[in-house]
Symmetry: C2
Amino acid sequence: MPISTKLDYTLAAQKIAFAPFEFQAAKAMIETGILRYIRKNKWSSISQITENLKLTEYGVTVLIEAGIAMNIILEKDNRYALSKMGMFFVCDKMTELNFRFTDHVCYKGLEHLGESIRKGKPDGLMVFGKWTTIYEALADLPDNTRRSWFNFDHFYSDQAFPEALPIVFKCSPKNILDIGGNTGRWAIECLRYSDTVKVVIADHEGQLKDAESNLRKENLLERASFYPTDFLKGIQKLPKGFDIIWMSQFLCCFSEEEIQNILHVAKGSLGKNSRLFILDTFLDKQKNPVAEYILRMTSLYFTCFANGNSKVYHSNTIINCIKKAGLAVKKETNHIGLGHTLLECINPD
Amino acid sequence: MPISTKLDYTLAAQKIAFAPFEFQAAKAMIETGILRYIRKNKWSSISQITENLKLTEYGVTVLIEAGIAMNIILEKDNRYALSKMGMFFVCDKMTELNFRFTDHVCYKGLEHLGESIRKGKPDGLMVFGKWTTIYEALADLPDNTRRSWFNFDHFYSDQAFPEALPIVFKCSPKNILDIGGNTGRWAIECLRYSDTVKVVIADHEGQLKDAESNLRKENLLERASFYPTDFLKGIQKLPKGFDIIWMSQFLCCFSEEEIQNILHVAKGSLGKNSRLFILDTFLDKQKNPVAEYILRMTSLYFTCFANGNSKVYHSNTIINCIKKAGLAVKKETNHIGLGHTLLECINPD
């Protein structure tokens, strides 16, 4: 959206000053069914909407009038239709998941963003309870918070995994160490992709329970095992003897110092012909401004909720960490899924 | 901001899905002093900002990177400056007051906007305590909430009063009934403008205490008196014998039905040569899209916090109420202050 005149600048500033109004108005327009209704019934009047959705004329009016200001709703002779932008709130999965993530995970706690930055701690997390990081808390978060967190997390990795699989399996690995394996989605993909590969998932005990249950449902437990650990408390070593060590959307959960340490430990566990694959999103490797925008906002989630010192990085930050840990990048593949980069690393020693 | 391509629509939708992130990031950029610093020190590096503001490099980085996505901050060779839009957060009084109003009065309670619409009650108000309307609550709200509410309210009326005074005083009124006189700002203007006029302020007891104290400070109590009442509970009559009845930013606090009743009662109190002056903002009488945007968002404040059934109206809604109450509009003056309209009404009987 090019901004050019003084009025545009003024309006853009007000749109930030009233941003929480926009968010909650959009939510109310979705939840009351107004957006779906005017999508199906183009150019409806206020009274038609009111009658069909069993709302008050007043309630429909204030939301419609706000929707016009937000470019979600179009107006013509006191009749209303969904705008092209409004379509995203009705039809687009990514917009829906981003919206729910902000709503269920972030809205309340974001009030503590400033404090989180001053303290270097994820102060927003306190709205859910007393935890040091969200990774400890995940298993115990309220149901809708937990669901929206995982849906957000999985949506982006789900698009990347199918493209990453053939690259990772080119070397026909016998076994994979899946570091930060979360609820087992990558492990399941691997165990399905190959009939022989074995996978060890390393993560928090809470996530491993979920992972185990998910693998059981898929009848894939036989070639899987679990390695409970807490990377945020600092790790000294990892099990050895894997053809591949895999880290997906994992390093973004740590500070630069921690990343260097993790990569150093990973190096110690890499054999001569082993590969370390890092799948992550980088600010500077995006094809379009939408992906970059989402990543820049997601960094603030890491500040306020995750652990207070992690973020979405520039690729050179991570590549520097890789080099400092004594590893070498053998290949970089960009534009995987919606905006992931796959770094294939080796131990050059 | 013209939106034209599919990418623009997608981005605009994400900006709503992440709107609370934008709001809290802007707040943190203001409160940490980052915006002021890069305004004074154009094209600073992250380390310069970090050192001078005693923040962590991490904290400055995530905010700067978010600020770029929000068009608040400009980037050139890893150095940063304030954008033209960012200037509004540092220099513009209106943006500052809108921002603080959203922050201190609305952020938390806006989560209850949907419920407020379903129930027809200002459910957002519950975050402050158990009240039916914000007008009962005003005297007891937390200090910064109260201050931000009055600053927001006064800012807009303060620009309008000087232009409205000569119009109202053209008929040399002996006495004015100031309905919904709030903390006495209009009364003070009138008592200063004329050495002889007397003013009666009608409002909630809480506000009248403030008004009395403010008039005392100005040494203007001699020609003022007070009429405690609660218009939201329905009024049957008003005192008579005034040359002018005045309602500033008052009718927007009521539903259409209540407005009609209030105007009907006001009619009963208007003498043959009396005038009723209504000063208010109307959605359809704005000169620019910024003013209209602010008013459309402000309607949602009335829904969620004020009383659950009032809003910023279209002028024809109020003019219809005036007619239905048996009054006639003698003159309409638009574009007063930042976007007020002054309606001069008479009793045609």
